[in-house]
């Protein structure tokens, strides 16, 4: 168990900067997800933690020990590869025993620990099987077991579920989280799938274009995105983001959304921040799940353009051109394509961003 600290970490490949000054504290025993679209620098970060790539600047410490120049075999890092990288020419037993054998562990001790690990991961019946023909969930368990058997302080997982079909992913997610709880190790999990990050991680580090955008618990990241990228990236569908102008009304500060109308008065605390901030051009944000139908003449009047039924929920698409809104309702919602509906969002669920910088305007 080890805390990982990334300080001013930079990685350049020639002229291309894959990672721009990243600072991140990963706590002891924490499950941290590095989340972002492809090319955001998450895998590069992970490879540097593992020692497979050397940082161009900054440093990585494990419990205060500088890892710069420490070979990857000596960092005490367990790595689960995207395709698991199982030694296909060995059977399950030899795969599990590999780390112990190369470290010169005695045969009896190796045997005892391999059997214990196999027992723990329910791999005992297939110990003698060649590993080339195993199913993917067994491969995952084997890959984790092979790393875990040498008791690494840190576990790194590189998109381990990306080769698995959607139906099976849910099963694997549960299994993985369960294993992490039992191992109690510091885990860093790289993924582009927000569902994986949301369901498994203690905290999520959202990255984009080599820049760390936000670090927080899944709910923090979901409820209070720090900027427009996170607001849009997290959530499925992402946050609704409408351009508008701040305006005073007799009921308090509101956002004028042009053709769509005027929002309900903002939360007093948020209004105060906005007033001191002095911005006028803002982006009004709210989660599709927080949209409720309002009585005629109230809230925002929006034409229904498309209705998407996804079983338990119904996604209603409103508006066209610049100002589009999605809303998620129960599946018995009585709206029809073409009609204009009045919708509202409770002030406490409304978020606001500076239109010029994209940064959230929020109470500190």
């Amino acid at each position: 168990m080890t805390a990982i600290h990334l300080e001013n970490l930079v990685k350049r490949f020639g002229a291309f900067t894959a990672l721009k000054t990243m600072d991140l504290e990963i706590r002891d025993g924490e499950f941290m997800a590095l989340l972002g679209p492809s090319g955001c620098g998450k895998s590069t970060t992970m490879n540097m933690i593992a020692g497979m790539e050397q940082p161009s600047g900054g440093r990585i410490t494990f419990d205060g020990r500088d890892m710069n120049g420490v070979a990857m075999g000596r960092r005490g890092v367990g790595f689960v590869f995207q395709n698991y990288a199982i030694f296909t020419h060995m059977n399950v037993y030899d795969n599990l025993a590999y780390g112990l054998k190369v470290r010169g562990t005695s045969a009896s001790e190796t045997d005892r620990r391999v059997k214990a690990m196999a027992d723990f991961l329910q791999l005992t019946p297939m110990l003698d099987k060649p590993s080339a023909k195993l199913s993917v969930n067994i491969l995952q368990r084997l890959a984790i077991g092979r790393s875990a058997i040498v008791e690494p302080a840190i576990f790194l997982l590189d998109e381990p579920l990306s080769n698995v079909d959607a139906a099976f992913r849910a099963v694997m997610r549960t299994e993985l989280k369960h294993l992490q709880r039992q191992f109690r190790q510091t885990m860093v999990y790289v993924t582009h799938d927000q569902l994986e990050a949301m369901t498994m991680a203690d905290r999520i580090a959202v990255m984009d274009h080599g820049v760390l955008q936000q670090v927080g618990t899944p709910l923090e990241v979901y409820n209070d995105p720090v900027n427009l990228f996170v607001a849009d990236f997290i959530g499925s569908p992402g946050m609704n983001l409408l351009k508008g102008t701040l305006a005073d009304s007799d009921r308090g500060l509101v956002i004028d959304l042009g053709a769509l109308g005027v929002t309900a008065p903002l939360d007093p605390a948020l209004s105060a921040v906005a007033r001191t901030n002095g911005v006028r051009e803002v982006v009004y944000g709210f989660r599709p799940e927080r949209v409720v139908l309002a009585t005629a003449g109230q809230g925002l009047a929006m034409p229904v353009t498309f209705i998407e039924r996804i079983g338990a929920r119904t996604v209603v698409h409103f508006g066209d051109g610049e100002q589009r809104v999605k809303a998620v309702f129960d599946n018995d919602i009585a709206v029809q394509t073409g009609e204009t509906v009045h919708v509202a969002v409770e002030p406490r669920f409304a978020r606001m961003f500076d239109a010029a910088t994209g940064v959230a305007i929020r109470e500190v």
């Binding site: 790595f79 030694f87 296909t88 020419h89 590999y98 190369v102 790393s147």
Partner: protein, 318 residues
């Protein structure tokens, strides 16, 4: 439900006369006809000479006898060639010499090729140039290589010059005319010429070793030599067997370079099995005997290769 299933099965099996199957049968006939010329050719160039060889090897026939080979039965000798062969010490010496050359050249070529291939897994300045240079020996016509080494190993040649410079006193060993060193010179030429082939095949094998498995092994704490032994070698087993088989077969037939350098001499000091067969064929003209020797060698090599292939299949299964 079960009725339906049976019906379906019936219609599947009773399907012989549908247009599709008729086309398929016709296709098979057409395929046979299209490949027939090639099959006849193979029969003519491989099977027929083999049978002819077997036939002649049981007779005393020689082209000097003035009768066609098909009449060789007139000189039938009841396996005398084979019993002679068993007692022919020159044959056994040649065979032993061939085995010695093989036992030294093939491992040397393998180790050198492997070492070079490992070096070429890293990036270094001028890698592409060295890569091309490395493959040149393989492309030199063996007869030319023979002349090259013939000249290099002359008593006043460059090899002796270099040795003289190194040891600081005149050195004038007649490499090719001393029984002790002629075979060494021949082996050096063979190693020079065929290490590149090993290098090429083994490099292809090394490139094929999955990088993530190597990384996984490194992260588990395996040292370079441990990774080499536990990951690289097992993954390359098949390709190593192929490379060794090719070189063993080729080396067994070692002839052109050697013949130009030494002609099998001095005396019989470098007479390998191919040189021996050549001399018996061209000088002694006892073709019945030659046929017997060649057949024995063919069978011996076939056994060797099939052993290698079965090892390879075992490696693939594992």
């Amino acid at each position: 439900m079960s009725m339906l299933a049976t019906e379906e099965k019936l219609s599947v099996t009773g399907d012989r006369s549908t247009p599709e199957t008729r086309i398929e049968d016709g296709g098979r006939r057409l395929g046979l006809m299209l490949t027939l010329p090639a099959q006849l050719l193979v029969l003519f160039i491989a099977v027929f000479p083999l049978l002819m060889q077997l036939y002649i090897s049981l007779t005393d026939w020689s082209p000097l006898d003035g009768i066609g080979w098909w009449q060789a039965y007139e000189l039938w000798n009841n396996f005398a060639n084979y019993t002679d062969l068993a007692a022919d010490s020159r044959f056994w010496d040649a065979l032993g010499r061939t085995a010695l050359v093989m036992a030294i050249c093939v491992p040397a070529e393998f180790l050198l090729g492997l070492g070079l291939a490992i070096l070429f897994m890293d990036n270094f300045v001028g890698k592409r140039l060295f890569y091309s240079v490395m493959l040149i020996p393989m492309m030199v016509v063996p007869a030319v290589a023979g002349y090259m080494f013939f000249m290099l190993f002359q008593s006043g040649g460059p090899v002796n010059d270099i040795v003289s410079t190194l040891i600081g006193r005149p050195f004038a060993l007649a490499w090719l005319s001393s029984p002790g060193t002629a075979l060494i010179a021949v082996m050096i030429a063979d190693i020079w010429q065929w290490t590149p082939l090993m290098f090429l095949i083994l490099l292809a094998g090394l490139v094929g070793v999955p990088e993530d498995q190597m990384r996984a092994a490194t992260l588990l704490g395996a040292s370079w030599s441990q990774r080499f032994r536990t990951i690289v070698m097992p993954k390359m087993k098949t390709i190593i067997i192929i490379a060794l088989s090719i070189r063993v077969i080729e080396n067994f037939k070692i002839f052109d370079t050697l013949y130009i350098m030494t002609g099998g001499g001095p005396g019989v000091a470098t007479e390998t099995i191919s040189v021996y067969i050549y001399k018996v064929t061209q000088q002694d003209l006892i073709w019945g005997y030659v046929a017997a020797i060649a057949l024995v060698i063919l069978i011996a090599l076939s056994i060797l290769v099939s052993l290698a292939i079965s090892r390879m299949n075992a490696a693939k299964e594992a």
